[in-house]
Symmetry: none
Subunit: 236 residues, 2 copies
DNA sequence: GTGGATTACTGGTCAGACCAGCAGTCCTAA
DNA sequence: TTAGGACTGCTGGTCTGACCAGTAATCCAC
């Protein structure tokens, strides 16, 4: 064919098979044919279904993996991610699945939250505090009814950051939370006891409500220390 | 760079080979061994350089392609993209142009860096410190020759974060730097005296080199206090 | 029961092969 | 001499088939 690009014509965009697969899977998720947590067919099966080589399927899955759309666990399979896909610093990506990464993440959280919590105790408005209290109570009730989502636990910490009134702190906290979720999802780590977490949250919030910055920081430290101990222990 | 040094690429070792390659290439770009527009070695060549199959190389390149780090052109080769992608939290976008935003940003930086700097003083390796020293000296010389770029000043702070050995802290610092640049770009704010900044940097680095965490933190505080005063004053 | 070995399956990796497009080279014909 | 086309070697794109190392469910012996 002589359809070269005279100015009228666009350069022909040769599609890459893997791109097509990426789009198809994303569409299936968007259309909710694939729900979070669902297991995708194996790579071999998928390849045959699309009449394509396994290599092309793998390239597609690798991309979706990086995008956070999908979680790939060797020996088990590939699953639709439960956390909303959020861009993660690409340079950190390869670390997400290492246990030490959660400890690094925890160190960063500690640095930040140790200062956020006292600020929240000083700056939060009455209304904000009431709203958080309601949210926490709702979560406690939800847990009693057997319902529990990890993202909600992290939301508490992000909300704490919001109380400071500094949107940058909120943004950074959200950033760390996203990495936390991704990392834990990739490692397949079980969440720590939700009851314990809620108790800590209650303590922190109480101190904040009473405008006791130091007490709030102490409670926060206990919470993070407990998490660290949990990570270090399970890692063995 | 017509001749590509293969010695730049290290043999690969642990889990998922493609992740390692992604990181190596990103590192090479970050270290400016690979410049925007440069052509990467062919897939086959790259594979051999890291003792890995071509498939793994392809998976890595596919990811880098999606991330916008690299441009792949069939028949020609793979090239480093000219514009590195830098996402900013959309919810903050509208705030970028407000003066108070720089103050919020500064508060976050202070919280983080006040803890980063002492950590750096404790953990940094000799080599890292020497490298930073060289970089700082180069910048001093550049300034004397009338050359000055704001991004370089922020790079100092990011490098400080790297000294902690905690990639999360580095990432957050980079995240804040990104917003800082954007915000200042939008507000059209003139940078503070580059000479003054370099002097502060020199003081901080010296304390870190001498393994004096407290002194390093004090120097860092002076630096940030100075910046805040500068922002508040000019805002009037 | 209970626990250990077995086995089928999954992703991770490798090797080698072929295709189509791009770009220089070289040879030929005007 | 020079314009044109064939040639050649490179590049990424794709496919096939094979083996490895984990997971998880099963089954069998104790």
């Amino acid at each position: 064919m002589a359809t070269q690009e005279h100015s009228l014509f666009q350069p022909v965009r040769r599609s890459r098979v893997s791109e097509d697969i990426v789009r198809q899977i994303q569409d299936l998720i968007a259309a909710e044919h694939l729900q979070p947590g669902d297991r995708l067919p194996g790579e071999r099966e998928l390849a045959e279904a699309v009449s394509v080589s396994r290599q092309s399927v793998r390239e597609a899955l690798r991309v979706l993996d990086y995008l956070g759309v999908v979680i790939v666990r060797p020996g088990e399979g590939t699953f639709v991610a439960t956390t909303p896909p959020s861009p993660v610093d690409p340079s950190l990506y390869s670390l997400l699945s290492e246990r030490s990464f959660l400890l690094d993440l925890l160190e960063a959280r500690r640095i930040l939250e140790e200062r956020i919590v006292p600020l929240a105790a000083r700056r939060a408005t009455r209304d904000d505090l009431d709203a958080m209290d309601d949210a926490l109570t709702a979560r406690e009730r939800g847990l009693a009814a057997g319902k529990h989502d990890v993202a909600g636990d992290l939301a508490f910490h992000t909300q704490l950051a919001e109380l400071t009134g500094n949107p940058v702190l909120t943004s950074v906290m959200r950033y760390l939370s996203e990495m936390w979720l991704r990392s834990r999802e990739k490692t397949g780590r079980r969440p720590t006891s939700p009851h314990k977490a809620l108790q800590f949250h209650r303590q922190i919030l109480q101190a904040v409500r009473r405008r006791q910055p130091s007490a709030a920081r102490r409670a926060l430290r206990r919470h993070l220390d407990d998490m660290r101990a949990d990570i270090e222990e399970r890692g063995r």
